[in-house]
């Protein structure tokens, strides 16, 4: 039995960062306010003291510049972990992300690795309004050459952070900021990792599959409790958006015949559509009901609490979606 410790998502990511920095001298962290300040969401808090300013570096506020520097550093013998404070800011750095980071290996004929990790935060629920609440992970998952993970539990947060850092490919870790305080068991073994591209069945069930990400994993588990005795939900944490673990999803749908995809991103052309397309391609004849998606209705995240509550999906939205398929 693996030894575990109860920790929050925030602590689990920090532990993952710490372990990889201890393991590999080439790993360093840079980003806005990550050092002295400890990150505006406190994920890197204390790492400056544990390491030093060579390993934990405050950058100027210039996402294109320091993301690009991460690309150059990754191509020349180091393993940078770049924090983009809010994923909405990816737009500022998108040239370096899309044309350099994503394409270098391919355009160079496979002759360079790109061992860069981008950590960034997502999610509504803080009243932070449209420019600090988005969930643009489908930009990255859609773009060839990039990998994207979006953990829904502390265990996944640590395991995927570590795998992202060890990977020779560019990996984006999308951290939902509303679950930083959520706690759970996390393996303490410093060699514990979770492979990129593996989903996890968080709860087994017979009637409906809910494929969820990030905060909606926990809320789908709550939905399962609410529906227990009535509808038996199987809840999958997708964990990895690209690559996506098609097998785990289709295996579940083969059993349940019903699928709800719950992901806090705009509904059009996104994570939901991709999961469903693969299920329809591979398991069409296992389906007993139309598919349902829970997400953001193609709006931005508004400021006022009433509006934000309306837009951001929660447990009751998962429950309603399940009701529609049974």
């Amino acid at each position: 039995m693996t030894e575990t410790e109860t920790m929050t998502v925030r602590e689990a990511i920090r532990a993952g960062l710490r372990e990889e920095m201890e393991r590999d001298e080439d790993v360093f962290i840079m980003g806005e306010d990550v050092a002295e300040y400890g990150g505006v969401l406190n994920v890197t808090e204390g790492l400056l003291e544990e390491f030093d300013e060579r390993r934990v570096r405050d950058t100027p506020i210039s996402e294109a510049g320091f993301t690009g520097a991460g690309v150059g550093a990754a191509a020349t013998g180091t393993r940078p972990v770049v924090e983009l404070m809010f994923s909405d800011f990816m737009g500022v750095a998108m040239e370096q992300i899309s044309n350099q980071m994503a394409k270098m290996r391919y355009m160079f004929g496979g002759k360079t690795d790109m061992p860069i990790t981008i950590r960034t935060t997502e999610g509504g629920g803080q009243g932070a309004a449209s420019q600090h609440s988005g969930t643009p992970h489908t930009w990255i998952a859609h773009f060839p050459g990039l990998k994207a993970v979006a953990p829904g539990t502390p265990r996944a947060a640590k395991g995927l952070t570590k795998s992202a850092i060890r990977s020779d490919d560019p990996v984006f870790v999308f951290e939902n900021k509303m679950i930083y305080e959520q706690d759970g068991p996390v393996p303490t073994d410093s060699e514990f990792t979770i492979p990129i591209g593996e989903a996890n069945v968080e709860r087994e069930g017979a009637d409906v599959t809910v494929a969820a990400t990030q905060r909606l994993v926990g809320e789908s588990l709550e939905a399962a409790e609410e529906l227990a005795g009535d509808v038996d939900l199987e809840v999958i944490d997708l964990r990895s958006l690209y690559p996506l673990d098609t097998d785990t999803i289709t295996e579940s749908v083969r059993k349940t015949g019903r699928l709800v995809v719950a992901d806090e991103s705009p509904l059009s052309y996104g994570t939901h559509a991709e999961v469903m397309a693969r299920v329809v391609e591979d398991e069409f004849y296992s389906l007993d009901a139309p598919l349902q998606r829970v997400g953001v209705a193609d709006t931005h995240i508004p400021f006022a609490t009433e509006l934000e509550d309306e837009v951001v999906p929660h447990t009751e939205d998962v429950v309603e979606a399940v009701r529609r398929v049974v």
Partner: protein
């Protein structure tokens, strides 16, 4: 290839040879493009040879460069093999990028040449990163980012320089002011007389040098390299030069006249003037110069022969080189394209 000592006869003749190699390579590429043998876009460096060769000759093999659209010259100056470059221009699997990059993306990370680049201003942030890496690893290495005058208007260039200046990174930024950002004159794109004034904003040294004089560029970069290695941070060098060809091959160049070009070409050509200097000094005589020219022509002819005979990529090569750890998606979708049947299971 290590640095080339410009204060020795052998060094100077090697520098001349490299400039001649670039020009021969590019005149050949121009003809092959006109004949339809090279597809895509080709942006030539003819006229600017002194900048790339002057700068790269002052660097060690372990130093990094990032390049621009106009990367053939930087590549040859950094010691890349014209055979593998020409093979890449023809899209051969034997080219530097296995035929996936072409003229605009020639790269050889083994030679620390981090790629020509199709995006104006994208190289300097990566040069900053290579300098960060060198500094992080405590290596005696510098990174030099080439950029055009047009790129000085790009925001990420300024972010890159600010970062390198703030962290005292061993970086050198060399602006090739060839007087046109694509088809628009430099004075219509910037409000300063000299682009090197940019350096003032970052409190780093900034110089404008004669980019038609290989010695001037060499000396400026050698000095900047020393400063970088001493921990004194980046240097910004503007090299005033001129491109004889259009922005791309086939550019009708309505923005200037033949007289504008010939003024530079006839009076300030970097190769002619360096040849004259070497002849005057007695580093080389007319016969030796003629022999060198013939050798360069033969080298490029051999490169063309190699490229024409080189293996073509197989269609399925389009799906390789994406990731170090492959994603199952690519095989899955390639399987779909080939309609060879997945059955009820994706794997």
């Amino acid at each position: 290839m290590g640095s080339i000592p410009i204060d020795t006869t052998d060094g100077r003749t090697e520098i001349l040879r490299r400039m001649l190699t670039i020009r021969e390579f590019e005149e050949t590429a121009s003809d092959m493009f006109a004949d339809g043998e090279i597809p895509g876009f080709v942006h030539l460096y003819i006229g600017e040879e002194a900048v790339g060769v002057g700068a790269c000759s002052a660097l060690e093999e372990s130093d990094y460069i990032t390049s621009t659209h106009r990367g053939h010259g930087h590549s040859i100056a950094k010691g890349l093999d014209p055979k593998l470059m020409m093979a890449e221009l023809l899209g051969s699997v034997e080219g530097y990028n296995n035929g996936k990059g072409g003229s605009m993306h020639i790269a050889d990370v083994d030679a620390n040449m981090l790629g020509a680049n199709g995006i104006v201003g994208a190289g300097p942030p990566m040069a900053t990163g290579a300098a960060l890496s060198a500094s992080y690893r405590d290596a005696d290495e510098v990174a030099l980012g080439f950029l055009g005058d047009g790129a000085v208007a790009q925001g990420q260039v300024h972010e890159a320089i600010n970062l390198a200046a703030t962290w005292d990174l061993p970086a050198i930024y060399v602006v090739e002011n060839n007087h046109f950002g694509e088809g628009t004159p430099v004075e219509d794109q910037h409000n300063v007389e000299n682009l090197s004034e940019t350096a003032e904003a970052y409190d780093i040294p900034g110089f404008t040098v004669d980019g038609m004089d290989v010695t001037a560029v060499y000396e400026a970069v050698a000095e900047a390299r020393e400063r970088a290695l001493a921990g004194d941070g980046p240097t910004f060098i503007e090299a005033e030069t001129y491109r004889y060809r259009g922005h791309f091959e086939g550019d009708p160049q309505a923005y200037r006249t033949d007289e504008d070009v010939s003024e530079w070409r006839e009076e300030r050509d970097p190769i002619d003037s360096f040849e004259e200097r070497l002849l005057d000094r007695g580093d080389i005589d007319e016969d030796e110069l003629q022999t060198m020219r013939e050798e360069v022509v033969a080298e490029i002819e051999a490169a063309v022969d190699f490229a024409r005979d080189a293996e073509r990529p197989a269609p399925e090569d389009a799906y390789t080189d994406m990731f170090a750890d492959p994603a199952p998606e690519i095989e899955r979708f390639v399987g779909d394209l080939r309609a060879d049947g997945r059955g009820g299971d994706s794997q």
